[in-house]
Amino acid sequence: MAGRYVARRLLLFVPTLVGASIFIFVLMRLVPGDIAEILVYQTGGETSAIQQKQIRQIRQELGLDQPVVVQYLDWLGNAARGDFGQSYTQQRPVADILKERVPRSIELAVLTILLAMLWAVPLGVISAVRQNRWADYVVRVLSISGLSVPIFFSGVLVLYLLVRLFKWLPPLEFVSFTANPVENLKQLIWPALVQAFYISAPITRLTRSQLLEVIRQDYVRTARAKGLAERTVVYRHALANSLLPVVTFIGWWGGRLLGGIVIVEIIFSVPGMGSALAHAVTQRDYPTVQAMVFVMALVFLALNLLVDLLYAWLDPRIKYA
């Protein structure tokens, strides 16, 4: 049953990924000016016959003189074999860039979610258990303000305070976790905190509203009626059942986080996937954009599937459809 469900879902990945890659492919071709023009005109000056010739030559080397359909099928064929081509701006294979950048962004995303869970779920529980009392109001106003401060503002604000108070400067070189865990966490903790503050607001609100719904159900009344301590009722009986939508939300956000990470990466100079992608878009580095968007869409789909499976595993009432 589950096996067939997973197989069907995996099969649906294919049209979605192909559709997404076509979409980005066409979009990037619509961008005025290509890499050949950027490379040649970089040296400045007037358009000359020599430059025109250079542009034609570069386009031919990169296959940009081919019809778009041919270019796409070439790309797709290579990508299916795991070959994402050469980056136009960095003289190395896109696969190498992915290998370098993806783990950093994933680490940042995981750190963000862990930090957010650390305070968001307990705050949601407090808010629900003390519904309409002052603790509830404080938590609700806090979480709605958390939602209201966009990451680019809280990010710059934190950067300002770090610079002012601690003379902290964004590191020039990234240190990986395996090389030096302490240095690595020092670099990632601030961007992770900024993002965690933002996503903890919806987690708190969701935990609160779900817990309130579950707490009114009959089995919770039964648990109370048979004399269980309130603590046991809340944590053992109610919370477990109210965390399901929270799990969905976090999975969904995890997929989104990789795309949204671009802003904190730029503010805190984290050389991850988001900042590389934003840079590649402005530089018309087509192969890098294609590959990164592909990876992001794949991670998004895979996380969604994982959440659905987790959901059915956590709640046996849910059946695969």
């Binding site: 979409f23 005025p32 503002f153 509203s209 998004f300």
Partner: protein, 282 residues
């Protein structure tokens, strides 16, 4: 007029936070409408010394080009609300109609449209908008177009699932039995019943659209650079965090206040229209 006051009074009593949000939103709309009267200077007027700290003459200081930040924040209210409202109206209306019509007829067209929605939703939104802006060029209308494209699939999905349940309801069957054409059923029986959800989607998404607009401008691919976008002002400020913190502080506060007010109002409207949440969770 009395009943209006009574309805508003009841809203304020039942949703105090929502009423606070409504007051903030009204103040912002007034600011946007009266920008020419309120702003001491033009938004693009670079007539003063750069990097002046806040003073009596320039309460929010001046920016790197010597423009009055207070005036730009005020003009920026107009830009943000305009972009947010227009793109959400387009995106939610278009996506909603799409979702309702495909849900009503079902079949292969519905399945195909679901795949398109899946595809658009699998793309990271900021990156999608960013590539679109790179392709189309920086202008206010293109930002609206990019935001519309981001909002359409979500609205299509939400209203599709709602329309699926409406389609099965007895009154739709009755209308069909009475001889209404499909399009008449959609226009007179299905669409009116999606209206509450439509309004909620619009209010909830305006703040999202405003934040994405500012994010695009922050990344340098939003509205044209001289437009008073809060996002672009924050970018300029982030490049001078230590020397001129007022440059990022005031536009940042303006956008936070706007999103805060819209969120409070949106939550209240959602609670009032969603019968399952009525009277409880606030």
């Amino acid at each position: 007029m009395r009943w209006v006051a009574r309805v508003l009074g009841r809203f304020a009593a039942r949703q105090p936070l929502g009423a606070a949000g409504a007051v903030i939103v009204l103040a912002l709309v007034a600011t946007a409408a009266l920008a020419p009267q309120l702003a001491p200077h033009g938004a693009k007027e670079a007539a003063f010394a750069p990097y002046l700290p806040p003073s009596a003459e320039f309460p929010f200081g001046t920016d790197q080009l010597g423009r009055d930040i207070l005036s730009r924040v005020i003009w920026g209210t107009r830009l943000s609300l305009y972009v947010g409202l227009v793109s959400v109206m387009f995106g939610v209306t278009f996506g909603g109609l799409w979702g309702v019509v495909t849900a009503y007829f079902g079949g292969a067209a519905d399945t195909a449209s679901q795949r398109v929605v899946d595809t658009l939703m699998a793309l990271p939104p900021i990156i999608l908008a960013l590539s679109l802006m790179a392709a189309l060029g920086q202008s206010v209308n293109n930002v609206i177009l990019a935001l519309t494209l981001l909002l359409t699939p979500t609205a299509a999905r939400t209203l599709r699932s709602l329309a699926l349940s409406i389609r099965e309801s007895p009154y739709v069957e009755a209308a069909r039995a009475a001889g209404c054409s499909h399009w008449r059923v959609i226009a007179l029986h299905v669409l009116p019943n999606t209206f509450a959800t439509y309004i909620v989607l619009v209010t909830v998404n305006i703040s999202y659209a405003i934040v994405v607009e500012a994010s695009l401008s922050f990344l340098g691919l939003g509205t044209p650079p001289d437009e008073p976008s809060w996002g672009a002002m924050l970018t300029a400020g982030s490049q001078a965090v230590e020397a001129a913190p007022w440059m990022f502080l005031f536009p940042g506060l303006a956008i936070s206040l706007t999103v805060f007010g819209l969120n409070l109002l949106g939550d209240a409207i959602r609670d009032l229209t969603d019968p399952r949440l009525r009277g409880g969770l606030g």
